[in-house]
């Protein structure tokens, strides 16, 4: 007997473009998405629980491994929360260096996003080009921090050590050429008919819905809400540098693409300002060898990670370990919007939408 019924398609956890181990259960009418259920947890490592078993210093490497494409931002979120909790001072030089490294990390993260997002849509050349530039940034990380991805960049009180000789000049040299590279990417994509057809109007989310769902980062700014933690609640040295927030009223994937490109340009400016006006002074703060924070203190502190608002909520119990360390991961919150965004679209658009949300599964599952 002939009949029609919805097809249930399991997309992931092993799929070329679910960016790790995201699993989506799609209900299809032909190629049209009727419903979509994200299934997460394949990369769950119990980071929050692990944080309760190590002392405040030793927890920093865990924060590398949540959002592994932007480890310095995770480090910064954690370290600043601990500093706020214990009331530790951070030198101005350390603040500026932290800001510069976090913005470099934002550039690296957005480069990776641009490459994979473009490749998901079929433009594979983009990935190689963006990785070429990201490689340079990772080399800077290696020189200054000792590692490329799991940087463990900062520690409560400042940085482990000062910047190596010649690093600042090298980074400034890169910042001088980087905007030209972004122009190159735009040449390949921004005016491309197919790219526009594939991204404009795909993955729509209104400003109201975005706020209701607690979305943040480029996803929120892509819906026309000019909210950026760097401006709203400045941390590190962001109140001392001059930059603009990228906002778009498109509410779609193309708008988010424009925003992230603009953010890379703004990040370049921030890095240049930080390194040009870098004050002298110590880079490690006067912090005890063993951090013991008195019981009953608790702090929630948020920073603007490349994917949105990254928050750490730490409760102290008088020992040298946190009593509780809750991570408000931007990817996890942003991913919740996917069902609403893909309904009524086609299979090919699911891939576009996953890309434009820009999730990192380490960040989602923690």
């Amino acid at each position: 007997m002939l009949r029609t019924h919805e097809m249930e398609l399991n997309m992931g956890p092993q799929h070329p473009s679910t960016h790790g181990v995201l699993r989506l259960i799609l209900y299809l009418d032909g190629e049209t998405i009727v419903d979509c259920k994200p299934v997460i947890g394949y990369l769950h490592r119990g980071t929050e629980k692990l944080c309760e078993t190590r002392n405040y210093y030793k927890n920093v490497p865990f924060t590398d491994r949540t959002d592994y494409l932007a480890a310095p931002n995770g480090n910064l979120g954690y370290c600043e929360t601990v500093e706020k909790l214990g009331g530790y001072e951070v030198s101005e030089r350390a603040q500026f260096v932290r800001t510069a490294i976090c913005e470099l990390s934002r550039m690296a993260s957005h480069l990776m996003w641009l490459g994979t997002h473009a490749m998901d849509i079929g433009a594979q050349t983009m990935l190689m080009w963006t990785i070429r530039e990201r490689e340079v940034i990772l080399d800077f990380f290696e020189a200054a921090l000792g590692d490329r991805l799991t940087t463990t960049a900062f520690r409560p009180g400042g940085l482990r050590r000062d910047l190596p000789d010649g690093w600042i000049q090298a980074v400034l040299g890169f910042c001088a050429t980087f905007p030209d590279r972004i122009d190159e990417y735009e040449l390949l994509l921004s005016k491309n008919r197919i790219w526009i057809d594939r991204t404009v109007g795909v993955g729509l989310i209104s400003a109201e819905d975005a706020i209701d769902m607690g979305l943040s980062g480029p996803l929120l700014r892509g819906s026309g809400v000019a909210y950026d933690v760097r401006k709203a609640m400045p941390y590190a040295a962001y109140d001392k540098v001059d930059f603009e927030i990228a906002v778009s009223n498109d509410c779609d994937s193309y708008g988010r693409y424009v925003i992230r490109l603009k953010e890379m340009r703004e990040s370049t400016k921030i890095v240049e300002q930080c390194l040009r006006e870098l004050p002298d002074g110590p880079i490690t703060g006067k912090v005890p060898k063993v951090l013991k924070i008195e019981a009953g203190k608790e702090v929630y502190h948020q920073i603007e990670a490349p994917r949105g608002e990254l928050g750490y909520y730490i409760v102290a119990d008088g020992s040298d370990k946190p009593y509780k360390c809750k991570i408000r991961a931007p990817s996890f919150v942003n991913l919740a919007a996917i069902t609403q965004m893909v309904k009524g679209l086609l299979i090919a658009d699911v891939v576009t939408v996953i890309g434009s949300i820009d999730i990192v599964l380490g960040d989602v599952d923690r």
Binding site: E31, M119, G122, A123, M128, L188, R198, I347, A348, V351
Partner: protein, 349 residues
């Protein structure tokens, strides 16, 4: 001249067929090598460098690897259909090659050898018929896998190839009106007599043909049936080993055949550039086969170039483009050509 029925229809074609069967798989290996190299250069990489100097032995290593892999059929697949589907595509691809006039005939050991294996008087029609059969391979392969991603890929390929074939056929018809023949070598002769390649008479048709050709051969930006980032590998997701390589061989054979058809229809086949300009007759010492290879090679490069530059179209946009743009434009092109021929005939007799 000692040609006989036996030599004309059995021995010489058999030798040529054997030559193609022996050389072409190797050639495809090297087309893949060139593709990887060119893509690598576009993407500021080096491409294969490990096996042999500049990775030149890579295709051979790949072929050996594929041949020694286990021949897997999924448990719930329709095994018979699953196994013949790649063979269909391969046979179609190689059959298509037989129709291409690859060069002028020459004399060898007193026998006249023609470089098109079969030169039937309805060559173009036959070629189109053969090429459109390749949809069956994709649909059967995707269906028999009994898996969801191949099924979606197969459905896409059926819709895509059927709709682009319509536009392709209308485009070719306009050229056939000019040539007044369906024979492949007849079209080349017509271009020689007209004194110019049909690309100058049919520029719109030429552009339409190129785009429809890319869609017909499932290459980026129209590679929806295999769309690796959406459907994993589309219709051949479940294939591995040499059956998978049959799909690859078939795809590249289709690229060569379509490029060959394009060259024949619009660029004078194996003729040298400007065949009627006496000044260039010093180029005549170069055999026609060389021109053919150069022209086809350019379009193979063009395929790779597209792949390195463009994102992929979406299914509905592709169908929209096919039915709303390509078919109307190709029909208009056909009518204008027909009208022009009538007017020219009645004015200049």
């Amino acid at each position: 001249m000692n040609n006989t029925w036996l030599s004309d229809y059995v021995i010489i074609p058999l030798i040529l067929i054997l030559a193609i069967l022996a050389i072409f798989p190797l050639l495809v290996g090297y087309i893949v090598y060139v593709e990887r190299k060119v893509l690598a250069f576009i993407q500021s990489r080096l491409g294969p460098m490990r096996v042999g100097p500049y990775g030149l032995l890579q295709p051979i290593a790949d072929a050996l690897k594929l041949l020694t892999k286990e021949d897997i059929a999924p448990r719930n697949a329709d095994v018979f259909v699953f196994k013949i589907a790649p063979i269909i595509l391969l046979v179609i691809g190689f059959t298509g090659l037989a129709f291409l006039p690859m060069g002028e005939g020459f004399e060898l050991f007193g026998y006249d050898v023609s470089l098109s294996i079969v030169d039937v008087n309805v060559g173009v029609l036959f070629l189109l018929a053969i090429m459109s059969l390749s949809t069956y391979s994709l649909v059967l392969g995707g269906w028999a896998s009994n898996s969801k991603y191949p099924l979606l890929g197969a459905l896409r390929s059926a819709a895509q190839m059927v709709s682009y074939e319509v536009a392709l056929t209308f485009t070719i018809l306009a050229t056939l009106l000019l040539a007044g023949t369906l024979s492949m070598s007849g079209i080349i002769d017509a271009q020689r007599e007209a004194g110019l390649w049909y690309i100058f008479v049919q520029p719109v048709g030429f552009v339409l043909f190129i785009i429809a050709m890319v869609a017909e051969t499932n290459r980026l930006p129209f590679d929806l049936p295999e769309a690796d980032t959406e459907l994993v590998a589309g219709y051949f997701t479940e294939y591995s080993g040499f059956r998978w390589s049959f799909f690859m061989l078939g795809e590249y054979a289709a690229m060569v055949v379509m490029s060959g058809l394009l060259v024949t229809l619009y660029l004078g086949g194996w003729m040298r550039p400007f065949p009627n300009v006496e000044l260039l007759s010093f180029l005549d010492f170069i055999p026609g086969f060389t021109w053919f290879v150069l022209k086809v090679g350019f379009f193979i490069y063009f395929f790779i170039w597209l792949r390195g530059t463009y994102p992929r179209y979406r299914y509905d946009q592709l169908m929209g483009l096919g039915w709303k743009v390509f078919i109307p434009v190709s029909i208009a092109n056909l009518f204008i050509t027909a009208l022009a021929i009538i007017v020219m005939d009645s004015v200049f007799g």
